[in-house]
């Protein structure tokens, strides 16, 4: 029983190929992919470099903007540190962002969150958990809400309330208008066929 108990962080381990597949660059940054002359011009490097399964499952070209790819586990900073600092980054950034209202059932007032500060569902969950000091679970067909008390839903452009996590991240941030943290017992109806 204890083996099954995981926190939301672990649930996303299975989905990290999702986050890497769609990575085009840091959200919100107005960049051209910076070309590192050493990695692109050196043929020796490209032949010895792996068709790296460390970044993606498919063997995509690893040399078009290498600077912007999200490599799993690189740099070697524990996710523990990355997650906590995400909150800081949120507070200090003044650039344009995608601000959505976030409500939590039972909390007296709403918060505002900049979706562009996150690059994955995993980071969003951690940020929300930090903000609301609660535990949110992602619904999965296998495990339901995994024992947590809250679930995350969003209102899309068409006004429908959807379960967070079904669509690719980039699509999500472009259609999400607001977020709502519900009690998971109420959210069960959204979970599709049960």
């Amino acid at each position: 029983m204890d083996q099954i108990k995981r926190n939301t962080l672990n649930l996303f381990e299975d989905n990290d190929h999702l986050t890497t597949e769609l990575r085009l660059g840091l959200p919100g940054s107005d960049d051209q992919p910076e070309i590192k002359t050493t990695s692109l011009s050196s043929n020796k490097r490209s032949s010895s470099e792996m068709g790296s399964s460390s970044c993606m499952d498919e063997n995509e070209s690893t040399f078009s903007p290498p600077a912007k790819e999200q490599i799993v586990g690189w740099p070697p900073v524990r996710s523990y540190r990355k997650n906590i600092l995400q909150v800081k980054k949120m507070e200090s950034d003044t650039g344009s962002g995608i601000y959505v209202k976030v409500s939590m059932d039972g909390a007296p007032y709403l918060r505002k969150l900049d979706l562009k500060m996150y690059t994955s569902y995993e980071e969003l969950m951690k940020g929300l958990q930090d903000m609301f000091k609660c535990l949110i679970g992602l619904y999965s067909e296998r495990e339901g809400y995994n024992g947590s008390h809250h679930a995350l839903t969003y209102e899309d452009k068409e006004g429908d309330w959807m379960l967070v996590g079904d669509v690719p991240w980039e699509m999500f941030i472009s259609t999400c208008k607001r977020l709502r943290i519900m009690k998971s017992c109420e959210a069960r109806g959204l979970g599709g066929s049960l």
């Binding site: 995981r6 962080l9 190929h17 900073v77 523990y80 909150v87």
Partner: protein, 591 residues
């Protein structure tokens, strides 16, 4: 065993063993004890009988049974599980390192067990309950980088282990079972607590119970609060425990939403009140926490700065101007951890004051490639000039030069640990455009005491030839995105005669490089190679040649299958006395 003051004449052998045991009781070092046990059989027995602290560097190197059969009177057990790259999501979640077989193996054998120290193990709530129930004299639990348990498990330990002196949870992933564990300590009377550290527990804490607990723990010296403790609450705790030597300060900011804290009306938002709290904690030598720091409060710690030997600001997003007023008092500082938000200027300030600095760690606020580089070779150079006694450094940066690294190798000859992480992969010396070979070469050449090395940046096989040639004392080597060919790996495996732990990712090392290590692998704790160029066939060959080596092959995404000629996604191999483990999940192939 006959007592030495028995009246009958014991056999001469017994006398000798008795004397030996009494002498060996003074021997604590693992290495010395291992040497003693090799002398002859009776020394082996005597040593086994007197070893009270057992250290197991790899939980899969042997079975619990083997340990309990050999060492029968153990007070303290330390066990390490997963390889370090598990910290960076490179190890699938259910890979292993379960504590369960150990706790059940020890439950019967070690009734007088007092201390358990685990690192990177999977520990369940049931395991913790078993600890609480099996060891009546249990005193110390230290869990570092562990997961699989929650507040329910902690509650089991604190409620049943009445003699508990030390509970330290360090960088663990603790799930919130909504159990008020802090209220589960025995309700009445003073406790035996000397150390209570729960910085990493990501769930709210019942402050009233905590305050009550601290007030009746006169022996408490170390207190590590989590980020749910506000600065006002910290103030109250400090006045209850002025004898503290180690303090993890929690959030170090006022509460966000007033209704979260009942005692809000008593909180003072003025720095001066907190200053006096620190002034009365005259024994504090180690400060950490600052998890959500409101920077204007940092000067409150100034009264203790002159005595501080360790300051951990690695969660504090502060700049150089905010650091300077504080750091300039820290003359005795030996250990300093910070974020790169302090910049090269902040490091310069450290270099000017902290002449006794032994350990420095600088973590990145922005851990993305091509992020804003707040510290650079300038900061490294400043530190090397100011902190000549430096022994250990971990430094994240976006750009570096060989010159700065060479300077450090000459200015800081006492370096034992050198870990440089240039975040952009394949980054050359940003001034000369050269690979970073010469810099790391200088480190291994000039730092004669170096035992741990982590490399980064653009590196050719030449860097590895230096490491193999000069890195004779290196025990741990960490490599990522480096090297040109198998020769690089060959240099290391043939040259580094003391190598124990080798972890490599995303480097072009293949089968022939791997095979050059065949004579060494039995002398190593483990070898990890992920996203390199070793094939299944190559790994099979190693497994065939070395039957006592457990050769695990798996994919990080837990997919199974694959051809012999395919490159292996992850290779993890280690020696074992008891053969391959029985608890390997289906996606792990043991060859």
């Amino acid at each position: 065993m006959p007592e030495s003051n028995d009246h009958f004449t014991p056999y001469p052998d017994h006398v000798l063993e008795n004397v030996l045991e009494n002498v060996l009781a003074f021997l604590h070092s693992r290495r010395d004890r291992n040497a003693v046990s090799l002398v002859c059989r009776s020394w082996y027995r005597a040593e086994a009988y007197t070893r009270s602290d057992v250290f197991i560097g790899n939980c899969y190197a042997l079975s619990p049974r083997r340990v309990t059969d050999r060492f029968t009177r153990v007070r303290s057990v330390t066990i390490k599980g997963k390889p370090r790259f598990a910290d960076f999501s490179l190890l699938p979640v259910n890979w292993g390192a379960h504590f369960t077989p150990w706790v059940s193996g020890m439950a019967n054998a070690y009734r007088t067990l007092e201390k358990i120290h685990l690192k990177r193990m999977s520990v369940t709530d049931d395991d913790l309950a078993a600890v609480a129930n099996s060891f009546p004299r249990f005193k110390e639990l230290v869990l570092v980088c562990c997961d699989g348990f929650g507040t329910a498990g902690i509650a089991a330990v604190v409620s049943r282990c009445r003699g508990l002196r030390v509970l330290e949870l360090i960088e663990d992933e603790v799930s919130d079972d909504y159990v008020d564990w802090i209220s589960c300590f025995p309700a009445d009377g003073p406790t035996n607590l000397e150390s209570l550290m729960f910085d990493c527990v990501e769930s709210p804490i019942n402050f009233e119970s905590l305050e009550n607990l601290v007030a009746r723990s006169p022996l408490l010296k170390k207190l590590g609060l989590n980020r749910f403790v506000t600065i006002g609450q910290l103030h109250r705790l400090m006045t209850r425990a002025p004898q503290l030597t180690h303090l993890g300060t929690g959030s170090f900011s006022p509460p966000e939403q007033p209704e979260q804290h009942e005692h809000h009306e008593n909180d003072n938002n003025r720095v001066s009140d907190y200053v006096s709290a620190f002034a009365s904690c005259k024994s504090v030598v180690c400060l950490s926490g600052f998890r959500e720091i409101a920077p204007e409060y940092l000067p409150a710690i100034i009264p203790v700065c002159a005595n501080l030997s360790s300051l951990n600001l690695s969660f504090a997003n502060i700049n150089a101007e905010q650091l300077k007023p504080v750091i300039r008092h820290c003359h005795k500082l030996r250990v300093f951890w910070a974020l790169d938000s302090i910049g090269d200027e902040g490091l310069q300030a450290v270099a000017e004051t902290c002449k006794d600095l032994r350990e420095l760690r600088v973590f990145p606020i922005d851990a993305t490639e091509n992020g804003e580089g707040l510290v650079s070779e300038m900061g490294l150079l400043a530190i090397s000039i100011g902190c000549r006694k430096l022994q250990s450094i971990l430094y994240f940066c976006q750009q570096m030069t060989n010159a700065a690294v060479v300077a450090m190798s000459k200015n800081c000859p006492d370096l034992v640990v050198f870990r440089l992480c240039i975040i952009g992969r394949f980054s050359p010396d940003h001034v000369t455009g050269e690979p970073m070979d010469e810099g790391f070469g200088a480190i291994v050449k000039n730092c004669k005491k170096l035992t741990r090395l982590a490399v980064s940046g653009l590196l050719t096989d030449r860097a590895f030839s230096y490491i193999g040639q000069y890195g004779k004392l290196v025990r741990t080597l960490s490599v990522a995105f480096a090297g040109d060919s198998d020769i690089g790996l060959k240099y290391v495996l043939e040259g580094c005669t003391n190598l124990q732990k080798l972890e490599i990712r995303d480097s072009p090392f293949g089968d022939s490089g791997l095979w050059s290590g065949l004579p060494r692998f039995y002398n190593m704790r483990f070898v990890w190679m992920s996203s390199c160029r070793v094939t299944r066939e190559g790994c099979l060959d190693v497994a065939r040649q070395l039957p006592r080596l457990v050769v695990e092959v798996f994919r990080r995404d837990e997919e199974e299958g694959g051809e012999k000629s395919d490159f292996v996604n992850t290779l993890y191999m280690y020696r074992s006395l008891d053969g391959p483990r029985a608890d390997a999940p289906r996606f792990v192939n043991i060859l």
